[in-house]
Symmetry: C2
Subunit: 438 residues, 2 copies
């Protein structure tokens, strides 16, 4: 117990992953505290984690504290009382602003996995980070406080894949296509893999994409392509706005086109069309029998709890970046990607791969902060950091990755169920196994 | 102005039709009063109706009174103050119970077009009329007060078609299939033709049908058939529970099978599947951010106002009964039906055909009550009355009807756009035109 004290805020699916991973790597931290709004639910979850890794009665690996994470003063108090020097925020994005301020005031290092949000707001104009995060950057810099923004998989690892391609493989990047496909099946009629109101807003907002060096706006799901990915094969993916475009457009100023693509099946699209066309995905409250009700909050109340999906989730996810550009005057194209298996992840930590793929990266970054490898002493987006130590460590924390050189003629060399491209991978890192669960 | 004073309660689409028709036939009534909850909206509607038929300033054909029709005492007061002896209830079915009681107390004749309902109740067991209406029958009878239940098209005219077939054409009725097809197009993504929460409940309830002389329960939309109707051609219609089955099963005790079928297009079925599977058609409140919200009430708040559809509604409706049985020992099958055109009806009274086909029959019955032709001095369902005067008068009020003898081999002799069957119709009554609008 010689490392820094860690405070985890948030006990959804990603919180479950992070709590498990923190305990797996408990030798790198001092105390590990897990906090969330509801004390009882949290205590039960922590008891499960402690039991999984063989903590003895009265000597838990992870302890719990209830906190309202939208109350900055309460978070500050908790940071002080736990002596946390790293705050890992995996709570609702509605809490980000309060936690950021608490870290700024206490000097604790801050990590999150998604952009700060305010409730009942939609179609925020770019740059999204200029609304809440980046205006605080001068203060973080002046005080020398570290804040690492968007350290999940996407945003997060995909940004790091881009930084890695730029550092090692390309002189000039002409286009970045981030591709996120969940080919898993949760067996429910319809469900979202994380907070429904955040998720439904994300998939139904006007799409903001970076094209010819400027922001373009297109209707959601109006632009798609069919890609053939490793493992999951042919998939239809739709252009969507996403956090990482906002920071990559700034941090990759020479790259004229950056797009994010997400896979959606026909059934999902059908349900979404109905919900969206009828106004049921809207976060703008309407009057119902005299009360104001946000339609997406009602839909959230009716949909399955995302955490409940994990147990029966089957199949795999593939998330990667298709990066095109030039090296020594020649066209060059890379696909850098990871795959995870819902069932495997559930068996290890009780969460599905969408949560796992978000939790493992932010824990990887926390480990790099714990040993001082990453410590920018200001606010940064993750592509501003050196990608090498992160990509070297992430497989050990649980997430493999691989980089393949792809044909420059727009074709895909993969087939369903196969991970090998026609050529040998530039880099392939398997995930470490045996995390020490008893 | 020598007839009885008339009180119309309700100012939705059906109310619009009834108000227009009452003014068209104003020589049969004394005063005509139109009441609804919202005074201003109602006054504007009445001004339009008065203007349409050339009422002069200060001498309106129809006057208005605001009333909360769920408040029985308020309705009673209104009946007394207007001196109404006929109360035509086309308000929400949630109001029926209060209006029934007000009529019972004042002795005013009562007519409605649909079963009384309570909010937030679903899947009522048969017999539906035994819940609110029929328990009041002994009191209506004892006091000699007339109440005519379910006097729209379906329930209503279809029941009368059955009574007419029994009276004139069949010794024994083996089966009754009521078929309701709206082949119109309102041009909206999704909308209901009347109150969304009543409509969505109706189409998603467990189906109660009369089969082999007893009630059978089947999942909604689980049984369908393809029929070929006059005018609208081939249509897929689905078995549904409906008010008229409840009374016909009692009043046609020798008929072993009575079913109701409604046409639904593929797109409608898709949207309904999504809403229903996700629980959005439910009237059972769920907790949303601490408040209790009935999902169907939110959906209602988001859907187009049914009254707003009329203006752009194109196409026709066909509603009829396929009655099979025996006459003089021979198999015999009749199809007795009406058709209306959305655009024609809108041009006449500012409402589409779903409303028109409900409003014209109840006004026809009110006229039969005004001249004393129909006056049972107790509570009845419409099939208990002599069908002949009704069917003779209805075309003059605006709704044509036709009876065809059909092949007994289950085939349909019609084709799209045609109203003639292979054989000459048994009876064909055209609608009267020129209703005296200026």
């Amino acid at each position: 117990m010689t490392g820094p004290n860690l405070l985890i805020i948030g006990a959804g699916g990603v919180g479950d992953v992070v709590a498990n991973k923190a305990v797996q790597f408990r030798d790198r931290f001092g105390t590990i505290t897990w906090s969330a709004r509801t004390a009882e639910k949290l205590a039960a979850k922590a008891a499960k984690v402690n039991a999984r890794y063989g903590a003895t009665e009265g000597k838990p690996f992870i302890t719990t504290e209830a906190v309202d994470a939208r109350d900055s003063a309460a978070v500050k108090k908790l940071i002080e009382s736990t002596g946390a020097s790293i705050v890992l925020n995996v709570a609702s994005p509605y809490c980000n602003e309060a936690i950021l301020h608490a870290c700024l005031e206490t000097g604790a290092k801050y990590l999150d996995t998604a952009l700060a949000e305010h409730e009942f707001t939609i179609d925020i104009p770019p740059n999204w980070y200029e609304r809440i995060e980046w205006p605080l950057r001068p203060e973080f810099k002046a005080k020398g406080v570290t804040a690492l923004l968007g350290m999940g998989f996407d945003p997060g690892v995909v940004n790091i894949f881009c930084a890695w391609a730029r550092k090692h493989h390309l002189d000039q990047i002409d286009s970045i296509d981030i591709i996120d496909v969940n080919a898993g099946n949760h067996g429910k009629y319809f469900a979202t893999n994380f907070d429904p109101d955040v998720n439904l807003r994300e998939v139904t907002e006007e799409v903001i994409t970076w094209d010819e060096g400027e922001w373009k706006f297109i209707p959601h799901h109006s632009v798609w392509q069919d890609v053939t990915l490793p493992i999951v094969g042919e998939q239809r993916v739709y252009s969507m706005g996403h956090d990482e475009l906002q920071s990559l457009a700034v941090n990759f100023p020479d790259t004229p086109r950056i797009s994010f693509w997400m896979g959606f099946g026909e059934h999902y699209m059908k349900v979404l069309e109905v919900l969206d066309t009828l106004g049921l995905t809207s976060s703008v409250p309407v009057e119902v029998d005299g009360a104001m009700v946000a339609p997406n909050r009602l839909v959230k109340a009716l949909l399955p709890d995302p955490a409940s999906l994990a147990e029966n989730y089957m199949g795999k996810i593939v998330i990667g970046v298709d990066v095109r550009g030039r090296k020594d005057g020649e066209d060059k194209r890379l696909f850098i990607w990871s795959t995870l298996d819902h069932k495997e992840n559930y068996e290890e930590v009780g969460a599905q791969s969408i949560s796992y793929s978000t939790g493992v990266p932010v824990m990887t970054a926390a480990l790099l902060m714990a040993d001082g490898t990453w410590d920018p002493k200001t606010m940064v987006n993750v592509e501003e950091m050196d990608p090498d130590p992160f990509l070297a460590l992430m497989p050990d924390v649980g997430c493999p990755w691989q980089a393949d050189e792809l044909p420059t003629d727009d074709t895909w060399p993969y087939a369903e169920g196969q991970s090998a491209s026609a050529s040998a991978p530039l880099s392939a890192q398997k995930a470490a196994t045996d995390r020490g669960a008893t």
